[in-house]
Amino acid sequence: MTYRPTRLEVNGRSVELPGLPDDERLLDTLRWRLGMKGTKEGCRTGACGACTVLVGGESTLSCLTLTKELDGRAVTTIEVGPEDAVVSRVRSAFSAAGALQCGYCTPGFVMSLAGRLRERGAAASREELLEALGGNLCRCTGYASILRALDQLHRGAP
């Protein structure tokens, strides 16, 4: 049997991960193997949502996901470029609403909303968008400005 390294597509770029340990988490692969620090490490127990990324378009806690199980999958992170129209839309809404303070939870909020918008598109209701943020904690904003961004996304849904 020939060894084939795990492959991922990260933000549209194909990466090979030779020597990947079986127990490495996606969060650590992104941050320390690929040097992509945009995805933040918070609690590492799935309680804060700061590490949320998209896997195959679906929002996923990278701290609870083993990289090896994602062979061949597409991963989208907060570093994705403007070619990702959904993430760009969420960014614009957050920027216009000033929906961040320290910014540590921000990548997780953006990716959680992007995942739901990608899944539900124009049909996403306000409740569905709210529900998508149920696992994201923010300590600075009191969520108020984030909800203003969310309302903008909801009203502006294509």
């Binding site: 320390w32 609690c43 961040l100 990548p107 300590r139």
Partner: protein, 737 residues
């Protein structure tokens, strides 16, 4: 031509693209990963710390108490705060050694290989186990007491004897954690006698001073550079990991990163610890005649002489209420927990909960309307506080009146089973702590050069440019903030105490006045200098004469990158009326600011679960410097206060172990639990900041638990005397349990 509006968050783009690097993100080639070796018990005598098995692992560096003399200069080190304890460990997880290894996993493995032998000693976990009753005079010399404060005025006993009514209550408040989502993290390098650390800190200069003392090296050899800070809330104002990272970097001759896992973030970070408060109030003829206040404050292993919290917080227990005759006394009680540390408005929300709940209860006992009763006793401008400070311009009365009008409307609109509460609080902005900035005028704009990093509130990146634009006059988008490390930045005290825009804003204002005067001379015109931006150039005009800034700079200034002018602000500290002080050190509040909040809650009559339905916040701020940031501070502070009010409670076992170290068991408010917050600012009661601004970082936290508790009482009759108002506590107050 219209100027495009500045974005609400100048750091929005960098943060929304994942490009902001925090302390946890630091990573340089050749870096080692550090880990602390924790004490397995909360109290014990160290028999041995054996590093040999850890050192036998490839690539591992380990340091313990015996290595300090070898690794550090011979200069005196702070003996009170050794990096590693030699005799006793005094709290669970206290670092007894530290290791570094090429990977995170190897560092964890190496730390586990260190053999720590400790003979356990009895653990003091609960302050009430030491002082089940109020301590007598002998307590002042007890080894369990780190500080004692006592002040009084008038004859309390005589007033108590002749009072119409005397109300006595006991309150308890829980330990709460800052829960910045970014845990503590830093990266250290030691090269050529330069001890360099990058850290997500609120106080680069404060850390420099402490590191010099802890490590016994000159301050000039220590360089601290701030990173983006993933939330501070007071928890990142003192060194925690930095001395260990530097020590390991020195031992390994490699850069060393240390970042806490979130569980350890809970266990090691310094934060607010439990209190027990006794409140006694005498009322005669509808007036408060005398008050006796007793505070027992758990300060963990805070050292005698280093307790700041007791003399600071006890004044909040009197509240912003006229009290001619009083006797207040507090003990800082040592337990086997990490030392007490500041948490956004340290203890003020807890104290406001106690005093508001108590005076509400007192009013009910004497048959008065509770809000009317409190309003009647509020401080107003010109009053002297119990500790002898004069109250300056103070918008609390106006804020309270606005809050009461909102409460009346909500009461009319509220469905049955809902309750509405109004809580008030005061705060004293710490503009007395000093700071300096430099303004650099370049051909294209203005740079604010300083040493603080943005911690999220917007005070550095939105507040300081707003002041520079207003005081100097260039369009705001032409003002940029530059961060410098402590070797090049002008000194500043730190981003804490709601002081940043106040103190550094005053420094900027001073520099701006100087800069405008110099430009005015160079332009030779009369009247104020104004600016406009044309293309990438900045033009200055006065009295009809306009030149580009490039033309106004001398060749030397152009070569040096601009005209640089410094500004500084070192405010006057307040004073306490020492005639009223019996013992200890009290904090002199000054630059008073007031806030009144309204909460509407519903209470589940079967479970005791509280839901906050509506919320409104009225704040005396002097003037609003940056409207969007100001509103965001209030919204965020209210949410944090709701956590203190309802769910947040760090729980220690009898063995001194934190039982709920993690975000699953220590619950902060989630999106669905925070109601919309109506925010209103009352301007015109001017304070010590630029244009009369007052601090706003901490005040929004303060009245929240009080407003919620009073709303709960109105909703269901439960008179809560403990924080947080968990479902269990409310159920108990309702006699459901």
């Amino acid at each position: 031509m219209t100027t495009p509006a500045a974005p609400i968050r100048p750091d929005g783009e960098v943060k929304l693209h994942g490009a902001a690097l925090y302390g946890t993100d630091l990573d340089v080639p050749g870096m080692l990963w550090g880990a602390l070796v924790p004490s397995p018990v909360a109290h014990g005598t160290i028999r041995s710390v054996d590093l040999s098995s850890a050192r036998a692992l490839p690539g591992v560096v380990a340091v313990g108490p015996d290595d300090l003399d070898r690794l550090l200069p011979p200069g005196p080190r702070d003996e009170e705060r050794p990096l590693f304890p030699r005799g006793e460990v005094v709290y669970h997880q206290q670092p007894v050694a530290a290791v570094a290894a090429p990977t995170a996993a190897e560092a964890v493995r190496a730390a586990a290989r260190v053999r720590v032998l400790i003979d356990p000693l009895p653990v003091v976990s609960d302050l009430e186990s030491i002082f089940p009753d109020w301590p007598g005079p002998e307590a002042a010399t007890s080894p369990h007491v780190a500080a004692h404060v006592h002040a009084r005025h008038g004859d309390v006993d005589a007033e108590f004897r002749r009072a119409d009514r005397l109300v006595r209550e006991v309150y308890r408040t829980a330990s709460v954690h800052q829960v910045a989502l970014e845990p503590h993290a830093c990266l250290a390098e030691v090269t050529d006698g330069r001890w360099f650390v990058r850290s997500s800190t609120q106080t680069p200069f404060g850390i420099r001073e402490d590191l010099a003392a802890l490590l016994g090296i000159p301050e000039s050899s220590v360089v601290v550079e701030g990173t983006w800070v993933g939330g501070g809330f007071g928890g990142k104002g003192a060194p925690l990991l930095e001395p260990y990272a530097l020590l390991l970097a020195r031992a390994s001759a490699r850069p060393v990163r240390i970042a806490l896992g979130y569980r350890d973030e809970f266990r090691l970070a310094r934060t607010t610890l439990p209190t027990v408060v006794r409140m006694e109030t005498a009322v005669t003829g509808g007036r408060i005649r005398a008050r006796r206040v007793r505070l027992l404050l758990d300060v963990g292993t805070s050292l005698p002489g280093r307790d700041f919290a007791t003399g600071y917080s006890i004044g909040f227990l009197l509240g912003p209420y006229a009290t001619a005759t009083f006797d207040i006394e507090g003990y800082a009680v040592r337990t086997n927990k990490p030392p007490f540390g500041p948490h956004r408005a340290p203890l003020a929300p807890q104290c406001a909960f106690v005093v508001e709940s108590h005076l509400d209860h007192v009013a009910r006992e004497v048959g008065e309307d509770p809000e009317e009763f409190r309003a009647r006793h509020l401080w107003t401008e010109g009053d002297t506080t119990p500790l002898g400070q004069t109250v300056g311009p103070f918008g609390l009365g106006a804020a309270f009146a606005r809050a009461r009008r909102t409460a009346e409307r909500w009461r009319r609109e509220a469905p049955p089973g809902h309750g509405v509460g109004v809580g008030v609080g005061f705060w004293s902005t710490s503009t007395g702590a000093g700071g300096e900035v430099r303004l650099r005028l370049t051909p294209s704009g203005v740079v604010v050069e300083q040493g603080e990093r943005e911690i999220g509130s917007g005070s550095v990146l939105a507040g300081l440019p707003a002041v520079a634009a207003r005081s100097l006059g260039p369009p705001r988008e032409r003002v940029r903030v530059e961060y410098l490390d402590t070797s090049t930045a002008p000194f500043d005290s730190g981003v804490y105490g709601s002081r940043t825009v106040g103190a550094l804003g005053r420094a900027i204002d001073e520099a701006a006045v100087d800069l405008r005067a110099r430009l005015g001379e160079r332009l030779g015109g009369a009247g104020p200098v104004t600016f406009r931006a044309v293309g990438d150039r900045l033009l200055a005009r006065t009295g009809g004469r306009e030149l580009s800034v490039a033309e106004l700079l001398t060749p030397e200034e152009r070569a040096a990158g601009g005209l640089v002018v410094g500004g500084r602000h070192f405010g006057r500290p307040g004073a306490v009326d020492e005639r009223r002080v019996v013992d200890g050190t009290f904090y002199a509040y000054r630059d008073f600011t007031g806030t009144a909040h309204v909460a509407e809650v519903s209470v589940d009559r079967e479970t005791g679960s509280v839901r906050v339905e509506r919320y409104a916040a009225f704040h005396d701020v002097g003037v609003v410097v940056d409207p969007a940031s100001a509103r965001a501070q209030v919204e965020g502070g209210v949410a944090m206060g709701l956590g203190t009010a309802l769910t947040e409670e760090a729980i220690w076992s009898d063995d001194g172990e934190l039982e709920n170290a993690g975000l699953k068991d220590y619950r902060i408010p989630t999106l669905g639990e925070v109601p919309p917050v109506e925010v209103e600012f009352l301007e015109g009661y001017l304070g010590a900041g630029p244009y009369g601004a007052k601090g706003l970082g901490e005040p929004p936290m303060i009245p929240v638990p009080a407003a919620v508790a009073l709303a709960v009482r109105e909703a269901c009759g439960a008179h809560a005397t403990e924080l947080p108002l968990s479902a269990e506590r409310v159920a108990r107050a309702l006699k459901l349990l």
